[in-house]
């Protein structure tokens, strides 16, 4: 049984360690915030200039001056800080952010990522994604294993214009958790409950590496 978006977020949340500064992209990554264990201290960075992002405001308490990088109204937590866009990307470029979680249209077996442009379609822009993937020391991609046409999004080589090269370390999809190996290849680490290795193999266009028994994911928090 493939994972829901919430389950993907839940599984990714397990990768977050105590003391991490984390940047969450738009979409599934945003959901990850809901599943960070309460017993660890994690600070969320929003690249429009905020450390210590809190939950959405209560109705009626929205502040137009306080938004996240997805332009959503949010809140700050005690200990948060505000800064300008140059410092925000300065700290990203200097690798002060421990983990970046973002979505993707395609990932290749050498860790390239494409997530900003589809030729022939309206291009909205890369926002901060190119800065994040070029600098982050640890990037996890949250995405669907196959697109709506049933084609694998884990490829030998990306077909779409790239966002960054050789930067993705880990991928969590509705079917599996995979490491992108430094020497190339998607190493299957965990299966979604009830999903077979064979099914993952069929859904993966790039080089899939399967060694030994592949456990099912544990989604317990």
């Amino acid at each position: 049984m493939s994972l829901s978006k919430e389950d993907i977020a839940k599984r990714i949340a397990k990768e977050i360690k105590d003391g991490y500064y984390v940047n969450l992209g738009i979409g599934i990554p945003t959901l990850v915030a809901n599943y960070i264990p309460e017993n660890i201290n994690v600070v969320l960075q929003s690249e429009n200039g905020l450390l210590g992002m809190g939950p959405f405001p209560f109705e009626g308490e929205e502040d137009a001056d306080l938004i996240n990088a997805g332009k959503q109204t949010i809140t700050t937590l005690p200990g948060s800080s505000i800064f300008d866009s140059a410092m925000s990307f300065g700290m990203i470029r200097a690798q002060k952010v421990d983990l970046t979680i973002l979505g993707a249209m395609e990932v290749s077996e050498n860790g390239d990522i494409a997530n900003w442009k589809i030729p022939g379609k309206m291009v909205k822009g890369m926002g901060g994604a190119m800065d994040l993937v070029a600098s982050a020391k640890n990037i996890i991609v949250a995405m669907q294993h196959v697109n709506k046409a049933g084609e694998s999004k884990l490829l030998s080589v990306c077909t779409l214009p790239l966002t960054g090269v050789k930067c993705i370390k880990k991928i969590v999809t509705e079917l599996a958790v995979l490491n992108v190996l430094p020497e190339g290849g998607f190493q299957l680490v965990e299966r979604a409950p009830g999903v077979s290795v064979e099914f993952i193999r069929q859904s993966t266009s790039g080089k899939l590496i399967v060694e030994g028994e592949i456990p099912e994911m544990n989604l317990e928090v």
Binding site: A64, I67, K71, F89, K124, M126, G127, A134, S135
Partner: protein, 233 residues
């Protein structure tokens, strides 16, 4: 202190003419110079190059200038929420230069800090790198990106004083301080203009030396783009 106060948006932008390059602060609709944008729309100046992280929405922010076809070229990182923008882009009426958000911010910083160019890894190996100089430092590739050269920077602050010192509120800070430093002429509109001496020197985000004109804005709408809330339990 040097007095930078002008009467309002119209006076502040009076010498912005056709073909000018403008920086406009804000992220989405947060912290945008509403008064100056409205004055630019009224002045109907055209052929503008606008450097701004986003392009507003159809009926607010830079979108108002787009609707009037005042913009020749946008330099932005993300231009998503604007149907008229899309129409002009697809029809070839509008030129768009999409650049990484951190590159945008750092090219402003470079201008404000007198650095002709900076190095960033953002875009290496992508089409953003096409035609650009690549240089390797310590085993990692970086692109050489040039400082912006803008005729005017137009920013919105929360408080300001007559000497041009600015304080921003919450995440409406975003690109405003780096653009304020980067314009050949910098225009600041503020929600509250105070006499010199009222702002704590330690709290000032943009020193007045970077600001050439300041005025108290009015009728701020401060529209929210994505109103997200949670329910009290």
């Amino acid at each position: 202190m040097i007095n930078k106060v002008v009467s309002g948006a119209e006076e502040a932008i009076k010498d912005i003419s056709d073909g000018a390059t403008l920086m406009l602060g804000g992220f989405g609709l947060c912290g945008i110079p509403e008064n100056c944008i409205n004055a630019l729309v009224k002045k109907a100046v055209t052929n503008l190059t606008c450097i701004s992280n986003n392009a507003g929405v159809d009926d607010f922010g830079i979108g108002l200038m787009l609707k009037q076809r005042q913009v020749k070229k946008m330099i932005s990182s993300y231009v998503g929420e604007n149907a008229e923008f899309e129409r002009q882009l697809l029809s070839g009426e509008l030129e768009v230069d999409l650049i990484p958000q951190g590159t945008l911010a750092t090219r402003c910083l470079a201008a404000g800090y007198g650095m002709p160019a900076i190095f960033t890894p953002a875009g290496v190996g992508t089409e953003v790198a096409e035609g650009k100089e690549i240089r390797n430092f310590d085993g990692k590739d970086y692109l050489l990106e040039y400082a912006f050269d803008a005729d005017f920077a137009i920013v919105k602050a929360w408080k300001g004083d007559s000497a041009g010192n600015l304080i921003f509120r919450s995440t409406s800070r975003n690109f405003n301080p780096v653009m304020a430093m980067a314009g050949k002429v910098t225009i600041a509109e503020v929600e509250e203009l105070v006499p010199v001496g009222e702002l704590d020197p330690d709290h000032i985000h943009t020193p007045g030396i970077y600001v050439h004109r300041i005025f108290q804005g009015k009728d701020y709408e401060k529209r929210i783009e994505q109103r997200t809330v949670r329910v009290k339990s």
